[in-house]
Amino acid sequence: MKTHVLIGVFLAATNVQAQNVLIKNGTVLTVTKGVMDKTDILITNGKIAGLEQNITVPAGYKVIDATGLHVMPGIIDAHSHIALDVVNEATNPVTAEVNVGDALDPMDVSIYRALAGGVTVSHAMHGSANAIGGQCETIKHRYGTVDPDKLRMDGAPRTIKFALGENPIRTHGEGSKIVPNTRMGVEQVFRESFRQAQVYMKDWDEYKKGIRKKAPDYSLRMETLADILKGNILIHCHSYRADEILMLMRVLKDFSVPKVCFQHVNEGFKVAPELKQFGASASVFADWWAYKFEVYYSTAYNAAILTRNGVTTSINSDSEELIRHLYHEAAKTQRYGDLTDEEALALITINPAKQLGIDNQVGSLEIGKDADIALFLGHPLSVYAIPQMTLVDGQVLFDIHTDPDDMRLDINPSDKYPAFYENDRQWHESSCMEGVSELLMGESYAKYMRFRYGTSHSH
C-alpha cells in the first residue's frame, strides 16, 4: 500500500513547476568558486538565488537540512544511452537525419538510478555503429513524468554522434561489405558527406534564388550535415586511436567546423597537445580498457594527462551501471594522476557542461544557475560516499530516506513479475552498439554470445 501512495505523491510532486527550497548548512562544493563551509543555498523557482551563510528561511520555502552533508552541483554525464527506446539506426554509415530525441523514454528506471547517483543531466546519445550517427538529446533527469518533452533541456545546443574505428568498420565493412571497411574509408565517409552537403546547400540556394525552377529533393540527412557545417550542431565523436582522432581534426579543419568533443578517446593522451591546439575537448572513461583491440594501449591516467595538457576533459559512463557512480569514477583520477578535488569534480560537472554547451545553466553552484544539486553523506570523491538526495530544478527527485524501492513508472500490465536479468558480466559498449544486429556485429559479438550463452545464439 505504501508503495503506490508514495508513487502517487512522487508523480504529483513532479508536476509542480516553481520550486522554492532552502538547503541549510551544508559543505558546498561549488566546483568553480571553491568550497564553502556551513553554507546555505537558496532556490527560487528552480534556480539558485542565494549562496551564503545563514540565509533566513523565506516564507513558503521548503527547508532541507544539509548539516554534515556535502552539497555539489548535479552530476552531468556527457555520454549515456539511458532513457532511449532506440540507440542505433545501424543500417547506413551516415544517418545524420535520425534523432534519438524522437525515441526518448521518460519511464526508463535507469533515470531514477542515475539520480540516485547524483546525476541530473545526461547526454542521451545515438550509438556508434555509423561514421555519422544520429542526433543526440541533452536531457534533464526529471523522473516522474511520462512526457518525453519534459526531459528535454531547454537551451541545450543540438549535438550529433560521429564514430571512428572498429564499430563503423565492423558494422558496415564487415557486416554489409560497404565502405568503410578501414580507417581510410571512415575518413572518406566524412569528406564525401560534407561535400554532398555543400552541393545540397548550393542546389537549394539556386532554387531559392530562382536560378533553378525545380526544387531539389529534400533530405533531412543533408539538412543536418549542412547544419553541422554551419556550426549549428556540436559533434561528439566516438573515437579511440590517436591516428583517427588526428584524422577527424584534419577533416573538420578542412571544412571549417570549429568544435568537436571526442568521446571515449582512449588514446587521447597520446595526442593531448594536438587536441589542445584544435580546441577539441575529451570525454573519457575513468578506467575502461582492453575490451577490444583499439583500447588495448590505454591508460587510466588518460584524464589526468589530458587535464594537465589543458584539454577540457570529462568522465562519462556510456553505461546504465557506471552512470550511478560517476562521482567514484571521477575520484579515480586522484589515484591515477593526482588530480585535485576541484579538478576531479570538474570532470563530472562543469567540464561536461562545457562540452554540451550548457555551462551557462548547469555544472556548478552559482547564483542564477539551475538548482540541480546532489547531496552526499561523505565527500563525493570518497569511495564510501553515499548520495542522499538529488534535486533537479529544485525538485527533490531522489531521497534515500523516503523513496520506495519500486520506482517504476510504467507497469507492464501483462508482466507476471519483472524478469531477472543475468547480466553479471559488464559487456563494455553494450549500449553503444545496442540495436546492432548480431549479424552486423560480426565475430566478436557472436563470440561473446557464444561464450555467455552457449552455441545456440551465435550466428
Binding site: V146, S176, Y218
Partner: protein, 562 residues
C-alpha cells in the same frame, strides 16, 4: 393471446418446418427485398431507446421507422417483439477482407542503407480496394459481430497503403465499395535489417517522404500548367500517392498503442501538419488535454490486459517455489501496482469520455467477436453505454464522412442494422440478425466445445424420445445425441415433421445436465432453449422460448446407449 403466440413459436420450431433453415447450404434467394421489422425496441441513435417501433427496409434503404407504420404487402415480416434494433456497427479501422500474406525474407543483395521502397515497407500507393476479398473469413467474422461497414487498410509496415470503406456484404467486392483511397496509414513498424530499421529511422524517413511528396506534387502541378522550360518531374508512385495526405486532404491513420507512440505521433503532426487519426490507442490517457485541444480523431484499441486471477485462498501461507520468485510481501506490493496498471488500461475509454473526447475503436489486433466483451469491461470501468454505442456507430460514421447515410437507424439511411435479443451490452445478448445494405444475414453461432473432462464415450449418447406439454398440447419427437471428437452433436426431430431436423447449438453437458438451444430462421426468429437433467434412462427438464417462459419436457432412452 399469449397462448397462441407461444404455440406458434414452439410449433414452428419443432414441427412446421420452413423452407429456410440455418444450416441450409443452398439458401434460396429472398422472395422480397422489403422487410418489415415489427414491434421492436429501436435504438435509432445512441441514447434514444424506443419500444414498440417498426422499421421498414426497402431496396437497401431504411424507408420508414415509427410506431404506426403498416407493413406493405410485399414485405417479409420479421416479428421482433423481443428484439432490439441498432444501427449496424462501423469498424473505423481494420484489415478486414485483406488476406494475410507470408512475410517475405528480405532479398540478400540489397544494400541495407538504401533498399527499394517496397522492401522498406513504404507502399503508400497500394490500395486496399485492390486487395479486398469479400469472401475472406474476416468479413463474415466482422458481420457476425454486428459490423456492417469496414474501413479497411492494406497490411504492411511503415506505410502500408490507402484504405477503403466496404459494406460487409457477400457480393462482388467492387459493388460493396463505398469509398476508395480514404486514408493513408502509418506505423512505426519496420523491416528489420534495412533502412529505416528503427523508430527513429522511420520518423526521419517519414519527414523526408512527406516533404518530398509536397515538393514533387507542387512541381508536377506547375509542370502541368506550363511545362516549357521546366525540368521534367521525376515520377515516383510513392510520392504521388502521398501527395493528398501531405497536403492535408487525406487523413493519416497512425498506429499509436503506447503512450510514447501517442506522443511521437502528435509531435510529427505538429511538425508537419497532417490530419492525424490516432489508432489502436491503448495507453492514451496521459494526453487527454493535448488530444482534446488539437481535436485529433482517436480510435481506441480493444485489446485489454488480462486481469490477474486471484490465487486461491488455500495457497496462502504456503511457500510456493516456482511461481513466486520473491517473498509474499514483495509479491503483494507488485500485484497491487499491477492491478492498478490493469485498471488504468481498462478505464481508458471512460477517461476519454469524461474528458469530453469522442472516440471509436480500431481492430488491427482484436478479433471483432471479442469486441463486446472488451467493451463490457470498459463499461464496468465507467464508460457509458451511450458512448460505447457512439464508438461503434455515429463516431466512425462521422470520421469516415458517412454520417448522412450510416450510423443511425433513420429514414433514408442505408439499411445497415443489428438485431439482438437483449440490450446490446447485456452479457448474454446474442446478435440474431444483421442487415447489410438491406440484405439479411444470420450470424453463425459458435459451436460450444464440450467439457474437456467428459469422456469421448458419453453416458447420454444415443437416441432419446421427448414429450413436451405446452398450454394443453403435447408434442413428441426424438433427440439424437452423438459425440465426435470431443464435441456433442444433437439433432431434434419432431414426430409430426420428420423431414425437418433441427441442429442444436451451444451444447454443454456437465454433471448430468444437458443444455442446448435450437435456432430458427422464421418470421419470428428466436431461440428455444433446452435444459435437461439426465438420470439413467430418463431425463426431465424445461424448454424455454425467449420471453414466453419455460415449459416441462421429459423423455427416455430408445434402445441401448452408444
Amino acid at each position: 393471446m399469449v397462448y397462441i403466440r407461444f404455440f406458434t413459436a414452439v410449433a414452428w420450431v419443432l414441427c412446421l418446418g420452413h423452407a429456410t433453415v440455418v444450416s441450409g447450404q443452398d439458401s434460396p434467394k429472398p422472395v422480397s427485398n422489403t422487410y418489415f421489422i415489427q414491434n421492436c425496441t429501436l435504438i435509432s441513435r445512441p441514447g434514444v431507446v424506443q419500444p414498440g417501433q417498426h422499421v421498414l427496409v426497402r431496396n437497401g434503404l431504411i424507408t420508414e421507422t415509427g410506431p404506426n407504420i403498416k407493413p406493405p404487402f410485399d414485405a417479409q415480416i420479421i416479428k421482433a417483439d423481443s428484439m432490439y434494433v441498432y444501427a449496424g456497427f462501423i469498424d473505423a479501422a481494420s484489415n478486414t477482407g485483406i488476406p494475410k500474406t507470408e512475410n517475405k525474407d528480405r532479398p540478400k543483395a540489397i544494400i541495407p542503407g538504401n533498399p527499394p521502397n517496397d522492401v522498406a515497407g513504404i507502399t503508400p500507393d497500394v490500395l486496399a480496394s485492390q486487395l479486398y476479398k469479400p469472401a475472406d473469413k474476416s468479413v463474415s467474422e466482422m458481420r457476425n459481430a454486428g459490423f456492417t461497414l469496414s474501413h479497411t487498410f492494406p497490411r504492411g509496415l511503415m506505410l502500408p497503403g490507402q484504405s477503403a470503406v466496404y459494406l460487409l456484404g457477400d457480393g462482388v467486392g467492387d459493388k460493396l465499395l463505398l469509398s476508395d483511397a480514404t486514408a493513408q496509414h502509418f506505423q512505426y513498424e519496420t523491416q528489420r535489417g534495412v533502412y529505416p530499421s528503427t523508430t527513429i529511422g522511420v520518423m526521419a524517413k517519414f519527414r523526408d517522404l512527406y516533404k518530398n511528396a509536397q515538393l514533387a506534387g507542387n512541381h508536377e502541378a506547375m509542370y502541368k500548367k506550363a511545362p516549357t522550360g521546366l525540368e521534367r518531374p521525376d515520377y515516383s508512385r510513392e510520392l504521388q500517392a502521398l501527395y493528398p495526405a501531405a497536403t492535408g486532404k487525406q487523413p493519416i491513420y497512425v498506429v499509436a498503442q503506447k503512450t510514447k507512440d501517442v506522443h511521437r505521433s502528435m509531435m510529427l503532426q505538429k511538425e508537419l501538419g497532417f490530419q492525424l487519426v490516432l489508432m489502436e490507442v491503448k495507453q492514451g490517457w496521459h494526453y487527454l488535454n493535448e488530444i482534446k485541444q488539437a481535436n485529433f480523431a482517436v480510435l481506441l484499441s480493444l485489446e485489454l490486459p488480462e486481469e490477474e486471477k486471484k490465487e486461491a485462498k488455500k495457497d496462502e501461507g504456503k511457500e510456493s517455489k516456482s511461481d513466486a520468485p520473491v517473498s509474499s510481501v514483495e509479491k503483494d506490493s507488485f500485484n497491487l501496482r499491477k492491478d492498478l496498471a490493469v485498471r488504468e488500461y481498462v478505464q481508458q475509454a471512460a477517461a476519454f469520455e469524461k474528458a469530453g473526447i469522442e472516440f471509436g475503436f480500431s481492430f488491427l489486433n482484436t478479433k471483432p467477436g471479442d469486441a463486446r466483451k472488451a467493451i463490457g469491461r470498459m463499461i464496468k470501468a465507467g464508460l457509458s453505454e451511450k458512448a460505447a454505442l457512439q464508438a461503434l456507430t455515429t463516431y466512425p460514421a462521422r470520421l469516415l464522412g458517412l454520417a448522412s447515410v450510416a450510423g443511425t437507424v433513420e429514414k433514408g439511411k442505408m439499411a445497415n442494422l443489428v438485431l439482438t435479443d437483449k440490450p446490446l451490452f447485456d452479457e448474454k445478448a446474442v446478435i440474431r440478425m444483421v442487415f447489410v445494405d438491406g440484405k439479411k444475414y444470420l450470424p453463425e453461432m459458435p459451436v460450444a466445445k464440450a467439457d474437456k473432462k467428459s469422456e469421448e464415450k458419453s453416458a447420454i449418447a444415443g437416441k432419446w424420445t421427448y414429450q413436451m406439454e405446452a398450454a394443453g398440447t403435447v408434442r413428441r419427437g426424438t433427440i439424437d445425441i452423438q459425440r465426435k471428437e470431443g464435441q456433442y452433436h444433437i439433432v431434434v426431430t419432431d414426430d409430426a415433421q420428420k423431414e425437418k431436423q433441427e441442429k442444436a447449438r451451444d451444447i454443454s453437458f456437465k454433471d448430468g445436465n444437458l443444455k442446448f438451444h435450437v435456432v430458427t430462421d422464421l418470421e419470428q426468429a428466436g431461440k428455444v432453449e433446452f435444459d435437461l437433467t439426465f438420470k439413467d434412462k430418463r431425463y426431465e427438464g424445461t424448454l424455454s422460448v425467449a420471453s414466453f417462459g419455460s415449459f416441462p419436457v421429459k423423455g427416455e432412452r430408445q434402445g441401448d446407449p452408444e
